[in-house]
Every structure is written in structure tokens, then in C-alpha cells.
């Protein structure tokens, strides 16, 4: 049996699946249920400074984009940080950590960008026995209007400054949660790194509007006829999150900075994607909010079975395994030639490969043979773009075949040399290096 125990920046948990700071981790009742269900750890829903608790809207907080069969593909929310008194949260965190010592207990924090405010809350958290803190620099709605959350995360200097305060006034490991609502995630990660962060977690939610109600022309969800952008998450954001994780994992300045992966993780496969691209563990919210805490069973079993099947002993062996395979476009080998191939035995003749290639690509799939419906790739036109593979409803019916050395590309007439050559040295590149 594979060993799923996780040691993320010194924080131990029985598995790498944590619940992200969000509604599921708002109070002891939920967190205890999560631990009973088997979650490895939680990041307690963001606490703010002491004082009158903030208030949430009394209208809808969540919106969803569904697939045709009502699966939640994307999800957004406009809930703020905790609306419960600080001391109540502190008491519960203390008790839960005491009762569940083997689970990771990280506390998310968001207070105004003032040194004193951070100093004050850090001491209170330290007394709870929590394993670490996560700085919420990502919340894109509501709090950002008050100069917190994403409003901090979007300014690298602020990220660095607050991170430094936290490291200065606390012994706890500091995870900086990054907002994706920026143009270059590396800038935020570098700032956190400069400030001394033990890790970054990413991504927070993305500014979003779910849809428009076509009867009332207000947006969904709306409160009293008006809506505001909410934070987008769920399966739809996963590819965006993966790219950001990979960008930070392979950036020269942040290489080696531990990453807690977040963004649409629904299954163990999603988790492996994040871990392979550099995440040391993962955090989940939408999957739990869609299916309940029991989804962790499949994540744990699936990861364990996957590792067994690959002969992998520990999760750490997977961390970053795919990072080296991520590169810039300019370094892609232009001498690798692929052609699509249709397996006629599994082809069901829907013709979608043909029509999309014909309408939108390279006219490289014919649709008739001897008067019969028949779909075939024309090597002399095929550029190997993968569109047909992507739209084919039958898995592995269309595949890409890499031409071997010595084989001629029917489209260009050129023979595959096997030599690596990229854009940086290409003859058509006026800026080429010799």
C-alpha cells in the first residue's frame, strides 16, 4: 500500500487532501464532519480582525454553470470571510485541533494592511495550537472593495510586506494564497517568496459572472435584482490553475517554493495533475460543496491505487514530476511531425472530425469512399493539430502518430531527420540566434 502521509512545510497530515478555506471550514461542526469523513486537513475559513462580525448578503451567495446533465462545471460565490465572532472561531479551532491532533489545521487570515492589525491576530492564532496560517490575498469580491483580499494580492509590494510581517511576528509556517486575477502569477509568487513565505497556495477564485437571467436581465445570482462578480471555481478553472502552478514551479526565482494546489480538484486524477506540476499537497472546496465530504474516499483510494499501480511509494515522489516537461513555445521541437490516424474499427461515423477540420482547420479529413460514408485523414493536408482527436466522441479512435526518422511528411515532402530544432534557430525567425 502506498504511503499517503503528507508533510507539507512541516505540517503533517494523513493524506494530502485538505479542505480549502471556504464555507466547508467555517466552523467546528463542519470541520469535525470533514475529519470524520477522512480529510487530511483544513484551512479554516478566513478570520478577520476583532470587532463586530461582518455581514453577508441575505440573498443567494452561490451560482453555478451546469452541463446538460446538471453536473456542476463551474461555481461562483460572493460569500465574505467568516461572519462569526473572532473569539468563537479561536475557541473552536483550539478545541478541534486538540481533538484531532493528527490532522492539519491551518488558519486563513485577512486583516487590514496595517502592521499592528496583523501582529495582533497572529498571537491569537498561535495560541490555538494551529499548524500554520494562510494569508488570504485572493478573495476577489466584497473584501477587495475594502482594500483586503485580492486588493492586496494584486500588488506584489503589499504581498511581500504583509508576508514579512507575518514571518516576523509569528513562528508558524506561512502560506500565501495567491489571486489569479493578475496578469502574471509569477510576480505575486516572487513577492511572497521575497517576503519569506514558507509556501504559496493557488489559485484563489477568479472574478466571474455566471450568467444573465434572460427574463429579467439581471445577472445570476442576484440579490434584489442586482448582482456582483463572484469568485469562480470548480472543474472549469482547473486548467487555468494548473498553468499557474506550473509557471511558479518552473520559475527560476521561485523554484523549490512549496505550493499547495487549488482549483477545481474533484477527483484523485485532478490531484495528481496538480502534484505532478509541482504542488506538495492539494486543497479542495467545490467538489465537497457539490457532493459532500464523502468524495474524499475516492480521492484517497484512487491516489493510493494509482501509486500502487505505478510502484510509487510516497506522494513526494510525484511532486513536480511533470514540471520539466513544461517549456516555452519557442523550445518546442519543430522537427517532430505527427499525423492523425482514424481507427476504422472503432469509428462510429459521426463525422465530427471531418466537419470541424473542413470548416475550421485544414481540410484534412475526407468523408466519402467509394460512395460510402467514410472518414479518413489526408496526410498531405494534416498538420497534426489534434482538433479531430479533441472532438471525437470515441476515446482513442483518433490518435496522433509521430512520424519516425526517415519517414517523409506527405504535406511538406520533408523527411523526418530526428534532429531537434526550434523557433529560436529557425530560418524564418528574423530574431534567430545562430
Amino acid at each position: 500500500m502506498a504511503d499517503l502521509t503528507s508533510n507539507f512545510i512541516g505540517i503533517q497530515s494523513p493524506n494530502p487532501f485538505w479542505l480549502a478555506s471556504a464555507p466547508p471550514t467555517d466552523k467546528a461542526y463542519n470541520v469535525v464532519r470533514a475529519f470524520e469523513a477522512g480529510w487530511g486537513g483544513v484551512v479554516w475559513k478566513t478570520l478577520g480582525e476583532d470587532g463586530p462580525p461582518l455581514v453577508n448578503v441575505n440573498g443567494p451567495r452561490y451560482g453555478a454553470w451546469h452541463s446538460g446533465d446538471r453536473r456542476v462545471m463551474g461555481f461562483n460565490n460572493i460569500e465574505l470571510i467568516t461572519d462569526r465572532p473572532l473569539d468563537l472561531n479561536i475557541r473552536e479551532i483550539t478545541q478541534v485541533k486538540k481533538d484531532w491532533p493528527d490532522r492539519a489545521m491551518v488558519v486563513s487570515l485577512m486583516v487590514p494592511c496595517e502592521e499592528g492589525a496583523w501582529k495582533e491576530i497572529l498571537h491569537k492564532i498561535e495560541d490555538t495550537g494551529a499548524d500554520g496560517i494562510e494569508l488570504n490575498f485572493g478573495c476577489p469580491h466584497g473584501m477587495s472593495e475594502r482594500g483586503m483580499g485580492a486588493a492586496v494580492g494584486q500588488v506584489p509590494e503589499y504581498v511581500e510586506m504583509v508576508t514579512r510581517w507575518c514571518k516576523q511576528y509569528s513562528k508558524m509556517p506561512v502560506i500565501v494564497k495567491l489571486t489569479p486575477n493578475i496578469s502574471d502569477i509569477r510576480q505575486s509568487a516572487r513577492a511572497a517568496h521575497r517576503g519569506g513565505a514558507d509556501a504559496v497556495s493557488m489559485i484563489n477564485t477568479i472574478n466571474s459572472i455566471i450568467s444573465v437571467d434572460l427574463d429579467t436581465f439581471s445577472i445570476n445570482p442576484s440579490t434584489g435584482g442586482k448582482g456582483t462578480h463572484g469568485g469562480y471555481c470548480g472543474p472549469a478553472v482547473k486548467p487555468i490553475a494548473l498553468n499557474m502552478v506550473a509557471e511558479v514551479a518552473r520559475d527560476e526565482q521561485t523554484q523549490g517554493l512549496p505550493i499547495s494546489g487549488i482549483g477545481g480538484i474533484t477527483t484523485w486524477r485532478d490531484a495528481v495533475d496538480f502534484i505532478a506540476l509541482g504542488a506538495g499537497n492539494v486543497q479542495v472546496c467545490t467538489a465537497a460543496m457539490t457532493y459532500g465530504f464523502k468524495v474524499v474516499d475516492d480521492m484517497i483510494a484512487g491516489l493510493s491505487d494509482f501509486m500502487d499501480s505505478k510502484g510509487i511509494q510516497s506522494v513526494d515522489e510525484i511532486v513536480g514530476k511533470a514540471v520539466k516537461q513544461v517549456t516555452d513555445w519557442k523550445y518546442l521541437d519543430l522537427n517532430t511531425i505527427v499525423k492523425a490516424e482514424i481507427n476504422q474499427d472503432s469509428c462510429i461515423q459521426c463525422g465530427r472530425c471531418h466537419v470541424v477540420c473542413e470548416d475550421t482547420s485544414h481540410q484534412a479529413i475526407s468523408q466519402m469512399k467509394e460512395g460510402q460514408r467514410y472518414f479518413e485523414v489526408l496526410d498531405e493536408e494534416c498538420v497534426g493539430c489534434n482538433l479531430c482527436v479533441s472532438v471525437c466522441p470515441v476515446e482513442n479512435c483518433i490518435t496522433l502518430r509521430e512520424l519516425s526518422i526517415g519517414e517523409a511528411d506527405a504535406r511538406t515532402g520533408r523527411t523526418v531527420s530526428g534532429e531537434y530544432a526550434n523557433w529560436t534557430t529557425h530560418e524564418n525567425n528574423t530574431m534567430r540566434v545562430s
Binding site: 446538460g68 461515423q349 468523408q367
Partner: protein, 447 residues
Amino acid sequence: MSQIQPTVDIQTARLNADEYMKNFSDMHPPLGATAALVEADRCYFCYDAPCTKSCPTGIDVAGFIRMISTENNIGAARLILEENILGGSCARVCPTETLCEQACVRNDQDHRPVSIGLLQRHAVDAAMAADKQFFEREPDTGKRVAIVGAGPASLSCAHGLARNGHSVTILEARDKSGGLNEYGLAAYKMLDDFASREIKYILAIGNIDIQYGQRLGVDFDLASLQSDYDAVFLGIGLGSVNNLGLENEDATGVINAVDYIAQLRQSNKLADLPVGKRVVVIGGGMTAIDMATQIRLLGADEVTLVYRRAKEAMNASEDEQEFTQVKGVTIRYNAKPRRIQTNEGQVFGIEFESTRNDASGRLEGTGETFSLPADMIFKAIGQVFETPSNCKFELDKGRIQVDEHRKTSVAGVWAGGDAVCDGEDLTVAAAQDGKLAARSINQYLGH
């Protein structure tokens, strides 16, 4: 061989009210809103979709299913009705398993086609429930067309002509429109008086007048129509029923299936229908299946459907055969009726001879016989076209010969539905006949 006892057991009210309700509920219950979305999502929106090519009326199946998937049921219905104004009844009665659904590429992937019939029904029902009409009459042309018969072919033709601005008069022999949609087919395929609701929806286009009790060759003749109208369409169906050619065929208890089904379809109270305890149905088409299934659902104890050829030769699709068997009907293949057994003018049994194909493929008796007790025997061995008196058309295989525009050999006269030679005896084929004839007539009338 044991002697069959000539005891006859024919009764009404064999079931209680709940059982009738259950037995004659929808054969394929309609899809709910979510189920329709999920099913529509299964459609691959194929290029040059095979389902469309397999629809006799050429409905853009992938197109309308895509609209359902975007919750545009009204748009979907418009696309369906544009090609087939009887899309609602076709969705219910088409043997989709041998038409569009047989062509669905999903068959090759997971052996379950997209439920095209149910989706079509979902869309058309939505439009009818909203009383949404899609077509408007063009300005009045002053041209008048007579249509004989008010079945599916005629209604399709009438709607097309009315759209083009012509005035249509339908002359129907019975006292209701709809043809076999109203008088034939199994009751569980056309619930809630759908046939007449659909006709009302079709007639809403306006300028279609229906006169009942008007039988061609009896109440009027073709010549008068030719002189009184600018064009004529004949959708007169098949006039008579094939006989077994056996002695005692006129005995009490030997019944034409089409007559019994018509009675059933018009019945307000199924408990009033006479039902034998042991019933034999002879035939191999849809009428035979519908008859056997329905008499079984009316409470008959033993229903045997006897077909003279092998299973593969049966006109009724495999799905239909399976359906009737699931409902408790026994199918016996390769047996032909030889002797109707009667006692004082009342049938009590029937003797069959087993058959096989000889070396040349011709059906022959084996000499082996068996008897089945029967309180009722239903004949469903096909109908034949009967030329109305004073009509002279070229016939082809015993039915009216028409060209690809559904034009007969007689100038100014078109025909369609079961009365024409290439008819597949399907509602959907009749709808297509009517549509094509209307186009051709419209052209003939100079529009």
C-alpha cells in the same frame, strides 16, 4: 390428439378500472425536462447526420436535438414541423428503431441510440401546449383543391396547400378525421385524444374545410371533383381487408383486426369491449402486433400471434415483437391457418399447419398440424387497395401508381399514403407523400 372442448368464453369487463388505466397508459412515457436535456446531450450533432437521411420526411434531427439541448423546444418544434406537420404523431407511432434511431451512430458505440422519437415528442408537445403556430397562409390564390380522405397524407397535403394560399376541401367518408391515427394504431401509442388534438393544431392554419360522411364513388365521384376543383389529392387508404380464404370465416368470433382496433380506439369505456379468454391473431405486421398486444391488455388469458413465415420475415420490427411478448403474447412462427373450428356458428378453435421454405425459398406446408383453442380469431393479414367506382388510374402492385411528385396517371390528380404503390404503410411516409404532393400541386397551380 385431444379433442378441443367447444366452450366459449367471451366477456366484457375482464379487468378493473385501475388495470385498464395501467395497461393503456403511454407505451413510452414522455421525457421530463431534465431527462430531455440529458438525452439531447447524448446527441453528437453528427455531420450530414445519418438519422436525418433515415427519416422519410428528412427532419433535421441533429438540428432539433441541439435546440432541445439549449432549452429551445419551440425552435426545435419549428424545425420538425417544417418538414413534417404530423411530427407529433410520428414521434409516437414511428418505428424509430428501423428508421432514425437505427441510423444513430450511438448504436455502434454503446448499443443505445439517442431516443429521437421521445425528443421529437418533447419538442412538438411543448409547442402544441403553448399553442405555438409557426406557419402563416400566403395571400389567397383563389385556387381550390379537393382532398379525398382525412388521414395523415391528406392532412399533410392540406396543410401545405393552405400555407400556399389555396383553399382546401377535404371529403372524408367517416365522421372523424385522422384516418389510421384516429381509427388504427394501438391506443397506448396515441393517448389523450392526441390524433384529434393534432388535427385541430394543423387546421389552425385556416382555409381547410372538412366535410364528413362523403365517400368517393358513393356520395361523389372523381369526375365531379376534377371539374369542380383546380386539383385533386387522394388519400383514401386501403379499402378492404385480406381474407384467409377458409371455410367458416364468417363465423361469430372471426373478426377483422382493423375493425376491432377502430372500435377500441373510439371506445369511451374499454370495459365494454368483448374479450375472449383465448385469442388467436393471424398476421405478421404492425396491425397484428397492435391487435395481439391490445387484446392481451384488455384481459385475454392466452393470446397467440401466429405468423406463417419465419421471425426474420415479419414486417413488425424486432422491438415490436419483443414488446408484445413482454406483454404476454406468445408468437408462433411458421404456421398457416388451415381450418376454422366452429360450433353452431361460433368459433372455438383453429387448426394450423406448420410451414418451412422449400429449396427455392418458397413457403410450403410440412403436413404437421396443431390446433389452438380460440374464443376469438383476429385476421390481420394485410389490407388491399380497392379502386373506388368510376375511377380509372394506372395501378402498380395493386395500388395507385404515382411518380416522385405523387402525381397519378390521371391529369390533375395526386395521391399518397397507403393507397399508393410505394407507400411504406407508415404515418411518416404518408406525411411525406402529402408534403411532396402539395409542393407539386402548388407548382401545377402556377405558384
